[in-house]
């Protein structure tokens, strides 16, 4: 070593990076020439790490230290906690007499200057008086053997930490949000007194569940700063497990150690993480013991996971609120805990939240929810009422969700999020576009007052959303946005999506078609906006009973996405899921199954089997398996989906309830109604609890339960349930809606089975007319109503009228789904039967043989629909006096049924009257034999 070598003290200070720049650079220069000193510096750096580990770990015997009997004037009762910062005791105070929590800071953590600060700041903490804050009664120092030992005396809170409380009490989302709003209040109170927590996390919030309602209480307010002004110390002195616990809730500015940047918005960020965890059970960023550095990097640089991606039921407001609290930049967060609390309360009251970009369908849907009575025809568009069986509702829901998510994503004026996927210029353009959409929507809603809509049919003083939307659509049609194609697309998408929610499918399709025209002109055919429009149109056409166009649109959307380099695999999967749903409705089950299995694989790869996304698609596939005669496989798949929901949302979830309903219905069809009923009842209770007594899904479940009771011959119970569903539906949507038509139809078929023909006919005619008015005369649901009514008329020997109706139904079905669809064939079977009774044998033969080609397999007939067709052929040929042909067909029947054809031949209706033919939606009518 040369004469000029720095001494070891200097080199250690250099290693600790505490020297001034000039001295440091001189040492660097020296180190370049002196290998001995360079080696010593490397050694010292290692020593520093070790010294830190020794400080952090102490002797390792802390947990075994005996309890002191007294600390200050407090009598120690027992130790109730132990951690890196010190020890927590339950202690008793004499005056006033009370039990307190006494927290002793570990010796060596505080210097003399910090002790002074500790005394001063603890007085501030003592002034924090709020129901949501565990009060600091006193802070002092206790003379222990090794010098002064600081301690805090705090209110002793009897209750579990926040997450445990939520889990133990099975709180639903609403209750969790209420707790969060109370926590926001408490945090805001402290902020108003100039106290920042800096270490907010679920374990620092206990819930006093002896209070009514339960009161969250935040512990250790301001303690982090009192003990350690450079919050980093909090992590240095805790165990690795706790480091993770602490880092996970740190704002980016805390994680980078930017102490001067810490302010009340750092607490707002922590509230965002707490909300995220309380609502989803997960953290928004990956943090791990293995790499604290990676965890910090994730917090600082990675976009947090969105709540909606974990739990779709959180999409919309909740995701927006939590997302805003978790914004990387402080200016983009809520500027106070009070703002966040206010938004949570707005959401709980179904009012528009401040954080949400208003330029979406969102404000309208809020308006609609608060003014249910005003909104004619709000129906659950995801509900498929098919002869009492709910189909793959999750799939259809995803279509809406996907569009809503896209809408929300487009609308999110969060430049930081946009910057991740677009250039700064694009982000700016997006924000400007959204501003334009926002203005348009505001203008529209402002204009939607009775005074301003005098030209429209305004009943009394109320203006319906529909009227407001029509006014908006007129305005756009008049060219108010013709120079802003992107804004026009966004506005039309918004109007279209809202119209769809209102059940105005034709008008909705009109808007989206126009949107697509503009998108094609502006971005070209092979573009994402065009694909999104096609996807929406696919769903809408499906609802409009135009399956061929629905499939065509959905196929094109998938094809375009497959060519887009920026399209994510999950978006692609969602589109494929929608296509599968449409194809399945059309009877193209083979292709649908392939698609669903593919989507299932993608979901599993991306999110794992224990995810809502996987469970949703599994449920869809299960529906298909059930419909294609594989009930055991379907049951297995439903149960798989169910177990995911049970695990992820033990307290319930709307999609969970749907799977319960579907499985219940399946079990019913498998003659296991006693197993199915409890599931349906559970679903009903869950939906009522989560969504309220009047939610459309409640109607669906009531309907399905009614079907189940009907099957179990509990006719009184069934009738009561049908009536309850109908009353609920009328309350929600008035005397005319698509769902109401299905319910009337189902009750009609119920009466028909009871032999109450007059009541049945009246209800079926009402349903038929309603469908005609609402859906038009080429809709499959209308065709199904025709089929059902024709069947009833045939039973009353009104063959002529029945024939006409069957023919109309078949015409619609042929146009919509072709002759090879079993649904079309079934109507032809019934027409053949009616024609037989009319003596029109040749025509009857033509219809029955055409149907047999579709329904009757080459081998023995086992399926009831095929058996019915064959039996009608036997009867036809017997009536036609062609015994050889009759016998030839009779041999195709199973032995047990062959004998039954003869006596029944004179009363063909008696045979089929045993077969349920209630028709509600697109898929049910086709399979009376099921």
């Amino acid at each position: 070593m040369s004469q000029t070598c720095p001494d070891i003290a200097e080199l250690e200070q250099f290693s600790s990076d505490v020297l001034d720049a000039q001295t440091s650079s001189a040492i660097v220069e020296h180190l370049n020439q002196c290998p001995d000193c360079a080696a010593l510096v490397a050694d010292l750096a290692e020593n520093l790490k070790l010294a830190e580990a020794i400080r952090r770990g102490g002797s390792g015997n802390a947990a075994e230290e005996p309890c002191p009997t007294m600390i200050g004037p407090y009598r120690i009762l027992r130790k109730i906690g132990q951690g890196g910062m010190g020890t927590v005791y339950e202690a008793e105070q004499d005056n006033p007499r009370r039990v307190v929590a006494l927290k002793v800071v570990r010796p060596g953590l505080m210097s003399a200057s910090l002790l002074a600060r500790f005394r001063q700041e603890s007085q501030v903490l003592g002034r924090l008086r709020h129901a949501g804050i565990a009060q600091v009664y006193e802070a002092g120092t206790h003379q222990a053997g090794h010098g002064p030992q600081p301690y805090f005396v705090m209110e002793r809170v009897a209750g579990p930490p926040l997450l445990k409380h939520a889990q133990d009490h099975g709180l639903n989302t609403h209750q969790r949000l209420e707790l969060l709003s109370l926590i926001c209040d408490a945090v805001h109170h402290a902020h108003q007194h100039g106290v920042i927590h800096r270490d907010l996390k679920p374990d620092n919030i206990l819930v006093d569940d002896t209070a009514q309602p339960p009161q969250p209480k935040i512990l250790d307010f301001g303690v982090a700063r009192v003990i350690d002004p450079s919050i980093q110390q909090t992590t240095l002195h805790t165990s690795a497990g706790q480091i993770v616990g602490t880092v996970a809730y740190m704002s980016p500015e805390q994680a980078t150690g930017d102490v001067v940047e810490i302010d009340i918005r750092s607490d707002v960020y922590a509230l965002g993480v707490i909300a995220f965890q309380l609502l989803s059970g997960r953290l928004p960023h990956k943090v791990s013991v293995a790499s604290i550095a990676d965890s910090v990097r994730a917090i600082v640089h990675d976009e947090p996971t969105t709540l909606a991606s974990i739990d779709r039921s959180m999409r919309g407001d909740i995701t927006t609120i939590v997302g805003k609290a978790l914004a990387k930049e402080k200016v983009r967060r809520y500027q106070s805990a009070a703002e966040m609390g206010a938004d949570l309360r707005r959401h709980l009251k179904n009012e528009p939240i401040a954080a949400h970009p208003p330029s979406t369908i969102y404000q309208l849907s809020k308006f609609a929810r608060r003014n249910k009575g005003l909104v004619g025809g709000v129906i659950a568009t995801f509900v498929v009422l098919t002869g009492g069986i709910i189909g793959t509702s999750v799939g259809l829901l995803q279509a809406t969700q996907q569009r809503n998510a896209a809408e929300a994503a487009r609308a999110a004026a969060d430049a930081s999020a946009l910057a991740a996927t677009t250039s700064a210029d694009e982000a700016k353009k997006e924000v400007l576009r959204q501003s334009a959409v926002t203005r348009f929507l505001r203008d529209m809603l402002a204009a939607a007052s009775p005074g301003n809509l005098s030209s429209l049919e305004v009943k009394g003083r109320d203006v319906t959303v529909l009227q407001a939307l029509n006014a908006a659509a007129d305005k756009v049609d008049a060219g108010s946005l013709k120079d802003q194609p992107e804004t026009e697309i966004a506005v039309r998408d918004m109007i279209g999506a809202t119209l769809e929610e209102l059940g105005e499918y034709n008008r909705a399709a009109d808007q989206i078609e126009k949107s697509m025209e503009i998108a094609t002109r502006t971005f070209g055919e092979q573009s994402k906006p065009v694909a999104n429009c096609l996807n929406s149109l696919g769903v809408l056409y499906g609802r409009l009973g135009r399956p061929a166009e629905a499939a065509e649109s959905a196929r094109r959307a998938v094809a375009i996405y497959s060519t887009l380099p920026e399209a994510g695999e999950q978006d692609f999967a969602t589109l494929k899921n929608n296509l599968a749903t449409i194809l399945s409705d059309q009877g193209a089950d083979g292709e649908a199954e392939v698609l669903w299995r593919e989507v299932l694989e993608i979901r599993q790869r991306e999110y794992g089997k224990e995810s809502f996304d996987y469970a949703g698609v599994a449920s869809n596939l299960a529906g298909l398996l059930a419909e294609t005669g594989r009930p055991q496989e379907a049951e297995q798949m439903y149960r798989q989906s169910l177990s995911v929901f049970q695990k992820l949302s033990p307290e319930g979830h709307p999609a969970y309830a749907k799977v319960l309903t579907n499985l219940g219905t399946l079990l019913n069809t498998m003659n296991r109604a006693s197993e199915g009923e409890p599931l349906m009842r559970q679903a009903l209770e869950m939906q009522r609890r989560l969504l309220g007594d009047e939610h459309p899904m409640v109607v669906v479940i009531l309907n399905n339960l009614a079907r189940m009771e009907q099957g179990r011959k509990n006719f009184d119970g069934a009738e009561k349930l049908y009536r309850e569903a109908i009353a609920l539906q009328r309350k929600q949507t008035g005397d005319e809606s698509v769902v109401l038509a299905s319910l009337l139809n189902n009750l009609g078929t119920f009466y028909q089975a009871q032999g109450k023909i007059v009541e049945a006919e009246s209800l079926m005619r009402e349903a038929l007319e309603m469908r005609h008015r609402l859906l038009g005369e080429s809709h499959l649901d209308y065709a199904n109503s025709l089929h059902n009514l024709a069947y009833l008329l045939d039973e009353q020997s009104k063959f002529g009228e029945a024939e006409a109706m069957y023919r109309s139904a078949i015409q619609i079905k042929l146009a919509a789904q072709g002759s090879a669809h079993p649904d079309t064939a079934t109507s032809r079977v019934q027409l053949g039967s009616t024609l037989t009774k009319l003596g029109e044998f040749a025509e009857a033969e033509a219809e029955l043989l055409a149907a047999a080609e579709v329904l009757v397999p080459d081998g023995p007939v086992k399926v009831r629909s095929a058996a019915t067709c064959v039996r009608y052929l036997v009867r036809l040929y017997e009536a036609w006096d062609k015994p050889d042909a009759a016998n030839a067909w009779r041999t195709r029947l199973p032995a047990t049924r062959q004998a039954a054809t003869t006596p029944a031949a004179t009363h063909p209706a008696a045979v089929t009257s045993k077969l349920p033919a209630p028709v509600g939606g697109a898929a049910g009518a086709s399979q009376p034999a099921q």
């Binding site: 020593n47 070790l50 580990a53 132990q82 927290k103 374990d203 497990g241 706790q242």
Partner: protein
């Protein structure tokens, strides 16, 4: 006092009859397991039981050749056993089951809140393991150094006293304090490396 590496301790453990070997083994590993179990929310008596069960299970596994040092570190292997044992005791301590009882968590800021999450437990274990290893190493260093040298180290590292103050208290030059700190820390690092060496 002779410094014994983990490899030596384990080697002797193969001999069932060697009671001394069991003693060295238990002395070395009992403490981190007890501390870990306490960190998992168990009472001291239960934590001691967890340690006993864990060490027995480990010794059995080791003697049967189930522990392969090339497949993972000893501490992780031991953790796996200690974690399962702790969970077993925690479950046994659930209301109505008799046995141990969980410590009531008070505050996350202060306490190790009992948690069945393995990553949390793993964090608790790492801390306790490191702490235990360092305590052993410091114990060895204490006997190897002059008392003054070791005291200087204790003052500036464990008690975080500024070096000038430590120099005053001990009546030695500041440079000597720095040197003492450096020498002791370096030795502890060496001891730690040999301690953890398992082969």
């Amino acid at each position: 006092m002779t410094w014994v590496t983990t490899a030596t301790v384990l080697q002797k453990l193969r001999d069932y009859e060697n009671r001394e070997a069991w003693g060295s083994f238990a002395e070395r590993f009992r403490k981190p397991v007890v501390s870990f179990a306490r960190g998992m929310g168990l009472k001291t008596a239960d934590a001691e039981d967890v340690a006993q069960e864990t060490l027995l299970a480990f010794a059995e596994a080791y003697r049967n050749g189930k522990y392969d040092s090339t497949k993972g570190r000893l501490s992780k292997f031991l953790f796996g056993i200690a974690y399962r044992q702790s969970l077993k005791f925690r479950r046994a301590g659930a209301p109505g089951a008799g046995g141990g009882k969980l410590a009531q968590p008070e505050s996350g800021f202060w306490s190790e809140v009992p948690d069945e999450d393995e990553s949390h437990a793993s964090g608790v274990w790492d801390t306790q393991w490191e702490s235990s290893v360092l305590a052993e190493c410091m114990q060895q260093a204490r006997v190897e150094f002059e008392p003054m040298t070791f005291r200087a180290f204790e003052l500036v590292v464990r008690e975080e006293m500024p070096p000038p103050q430590a120099a005053d208290e001990l009546g030695i030059p500041i440079k000597s304090v720095y040197n003492a700190k450096h020498r002791v820390l370096k030795r502890i690092r060496e001891l730690r490396d040999t301690y953890e060496s398992e082969a």
